[in-house]
């Protein structure tokens, strides 16, 4: 392992033979743990120990026949030649060089070369250590260092990194840290880490964090920090305490990620959820969310109010909702829920009678809740109290009906004014005129005066009738009471007893089904009176009047029937005029001015009833009065 310009000179084994010192040193070098060789500039390799043979595979014989640099790696040959120049005579040199072993392996060898005199010759003592393993370790270390450095770069680029000493004094920040905190590196180094505290977190939170890292544990969490300009930002942080060989923390490294956007989104979501919840709970509409089996999933405050008031349901999640509806309504609600589950939007109004006699009205809407794939997840039942609106509607309907009735009344009034009021006036004008011109005789004069008086009284009657009708139409001030049908009839029989006797009237009453109703006494009397006297007035000539009166209980309330055997009315012709004011269907032979039935109808309607008529000429007439209980 030496080099010499004239290295081609061989070295003979014979030169060394016969020297006992030589032999003992041979044995010595063979037990050295390192490779050892002696190279003579003149005679080439003189010694080559077993270790070298073991490591490189070459024997002394092999290397003697080889050129001195032949087994070095081409890349190292020049360097080795240099090192083994003359300077080696004075100073020992150390260098590493790669030797190509006999089997072709590349073996890095650490060389220690020193010039010696061996057997009187100027030689080089070369000690070599196989450093393959060291080299491998070094390479692995280099790789690890490179990797670590790559990690650091990656971390620097991706994260916000800072390091502090055990007391929390910043001694390193990366660019991201400066960027997000808006402090320069100079402003941060040497400062307490608390410089970026936002004050957002509780004392407990901060203490817990310090406790964790102080005990040598890694802490993870979201922290709100404050930048130099006062604006806060959120970072997802990992703080790693670094522990030295003595088990003491020597620095803290914190690695953070900016999550301000995520935090803002979270806040927005929380806010909007809170807002929705607020709307849900403060809505005056009751909402109940049901699953596909109609079990309650959730409901708002209004829903629990409605449930308690109208369904007597305490409102528990998991209850089967239809169970809480009235037996009559259970199937209806189940059907509606099924329909909604099938995708329909259901909509109906429902009334709930209250103990105080009023009625609450609700608008019920049921609709399906579906996911993005249109799969029905449940149904929402929304119930809004529309009592006020409904009452207003009913009032408006009543008002409209009233207006229509008023208009009809006005039409009728116009007719009355044109005919019934105008007729006696025309007569008065006519007879007064005749009186002015001068009657021919005293008899004539007396007749005119008589006619004048009659017409005037007729006029007065019409005006009184009109006044009476207007009275009826006004709001009824009389209060309702229980009125007996039989008593009412008795009173009338007494008051018209003369007429009954004179005409031979028979009245058959049957009030066994029901004999009283809660109504206005004077109206019921008037209705009975008018219908009875009407039957007597319009009796058939020579047929004694027979009047049958009966009461009946119906689903809706009470029905009264008045039946006679009188002249009857041709309803095909006059049906629409039966209850008209001043409508008469019979001739002068019968007293009447067409007021009775008009008044009766008005009164029946005023006390909440309905009157209808059946009649056949020369057979009789039947009036049916229906009162809703």
């Amino acid at each position: 392992m030496g080099v010499n310009s004239n290295s081609e000179k061989g070295l003979s084994f014979n030169d060394n033979s016969g020297d006992s010192n030589q032999n003992s040193s041979d044995d010595l070098i063979n037990i050295l743990p390192n490779g050892f060789a002696i190279y003579s500039f003149e005679k080439g390799y003189l010694q080559w120990n077993k270790k070298l043979e073991e490591v490189l595979g070459y024997s002394l014989a092999d290397v003697v026949s080889m050129g001195p640099l032949d087994f070095y790696d081409d890349a190292d040959k020049e360097m080795v030649a240099q090192k083994m120049q003359d300077d080696a005579e004075v100073v020992a040199v150390e260098f590493d060089a790669v030797v190509i072993a006999k089997d072709g392996r590349r073996v890095p060898i650490a060389h220690y070369v020193k010039a010696i005199i061996y057997n009187g010759q100027k030689c080089m003592a070369i000690s070599g250590i196989d450093i393959s393993e060291i080299k491998n370790t070094e390479a692995a270390l280099q790789k690890t260092i490179k990797e670590l450095s790559d990690y650091k770069i990656a971390l620097d680029v991706s994260s916000i990194v800072s390091k502090t000493d055990p007391n929390g004094i910043i001694n390193f920040v990366n660019d991201n840290f400066c960027k997000v905190s808006k402090y320069s590196r100079e402003e941060l180094i040497g400062q307490d880490h608390r410089i970026i505290n936002s004050g957002y977190h509780s004392k407990e939170f901060i203490e817990n964090m310090w406790q964790t890292i102080f005990n040598g544990n890694i802490w993870r969490g979201d922290i709100c920090n404050k930048a130099k300009d006062g604006i806060t930002y959120w970072v997802e942080s990992t703080i790693v305490p670094f522990i030295n060989e003595q088990g003491k923390i020597w620095q803290y490294v914190s690695i953070r990620k900016d999550i301000s956007d995520r935090k803002r989104a979270e806040h927005a979501l929380l806010n909007s959820e809170a807002n929705l919840k607020t709307i849900f709970d403060t809505s005056d509409t009751a909402y109940t969310l049901l699953d596909v089996d109609f079990k309650v999933l959730s409901f708002n405050a209004e829903a629990s109010k409605f449930a308690l008031n109208e369904l007597n349901w305490k409102g528990e999640v998991g209850d089967y909702l239809p169970d809480y509806f009235l037996p009559g309504k259970k199937h209806t609600i189940e059907k509606a829920l099924e329909d909604a589950k099938a995708g329909k939007h259901i909509n109906y109004e429902s009334n709930h009678p209250q103990p105080d006699g009023t009625v609450n009205w609700y608008l019920v809407m049921i609709y399906p809740v579906a996911d993005f794939d249109a799969k029905v997840l449940g149904v929402i039942l929304s119930v809004s109290n529309i009592t006020n609106r409904k009452l207003a509607d009913l009032q408006r309907e009543k008002l409209t009906a009233d207006l229509i009735q008023r208009n009809k009344d006005l039409e009728q009034f116009k007719y009355i004014v044109s005919h019934n009021l105008r007729a006696p006036v025309a007569n008065i004008i006519g007879f007064a005129h005749e009186l002015q011109i001068g009657p021919s005789t005293e008899e004539e004069k007396a007749m005119y005066v008589k006619e004048l008086a009659e017409s005037a009284s007729k006029l007065d009657n019409v005006i009184k009738d009109l006044n009476q009708i207007l009275q009826v139409k006004r709001e009824v001030s009389e209060s309702k009471e229980l009125v007996s049908f039989s008593e009412t009839l008795q009173n009338i029989e007494v008051s018209i007893s003369n007429m009954i006797k004179a005409e031979g009237v028979e009245i058959h009453a049957d009030f066994t089904a029901i004999n009283e109703m809660n109504t206005l006494k004077s109206y019921l009397y008037s209705i009975f009176y008018n219908l009875i006297t009407n039957s007597i007035k319009y009796r058939r000539p020579n047929v004694p009047p027979v009047i049958k009166i009966s009461s009946h209980k119906t689903d809706a309330g009470i029905t009264l029937v008045f039946e006679d055997n009188g002249m009857g009315i041709d309803l095909d012709k006059k049906g629409d005029q039966v209850f008209g004011l001043y409508k008469r269907f019979h001739t002068q032979m019968v007293e009447g001015k067409g007021m009775g039935l008009f008044m009766t109808k008005t009164q029946v309607e005023t006390i909440g009833g309905k009157i209808t008529v059946n009649s056949k000429v020369d057979v009789g007439t039947e009036f049916i009065l229906e009162f809703v209980a």
Binding site: H419, A423, A426, N427, G430, H433, E451, F585, T587, Q588
Partner: protein, 131 residues
């Protein structure tokens, strides 16, 4: 207008019939005046009388009557034109001051005119140019 041989009054109000009859008799002496308070009877009179003894007649017809209204009577007349058209001049004599009634009368071809009650002598005179 030529004075007819007969006046026929159909009105359920006997007072008005009396008044009209007096006016006619005092205006046109000796003329025949027949009055009916039941329109059915008036129609029967026409049917009975005019087939055999038709005379020129002025009819004063009321509208507002209980069993048959004036319009109903005119409807019946339309069914017997052979008796009505050659013999009758028909006036509606009504207390009504309703323009609707006047219009209805004007639209009925059997009706020659609409007179408002009372029917005074002056009105009759001017109708028959008796001034």
């Amino acid at each position: 207008m030529k004075i007819p041989q007969r006046f026929l009054l159909i009105d359920d109000d006997p007072s008005n019939n009396l008044l009209t009859k007096i006016s006619i008799k005092k205006t046109i002496e000796g003329v025949d005046v027949v009055d009916y308070t039941m329109p059915e009877n008036g129609i029967q009179f026409i049917v009975d009388e005019y087939a055999e003894n038709p005379v020129q007649t002025v009819l004063f017809l009321d509208i507002n009557m209980p069993t048959l209204s004036g319009w109903d009577v005119l409807d019946k007349f339309a069914e017997m034109p052979e008796l009505i058209e050659p013999n009758f001049t028909i006036y509606v004599l009504s207390s009504s001051v309703d323009p609707g009634d006047k219009e209805k009368a004007a639209n009925n071809k059997l009706v020659s005119g609409y007179l408002e009650k009372p029917l005074s002598r002056d009105k009759l005179k001017s109708m028959f140019q008796l001034v």
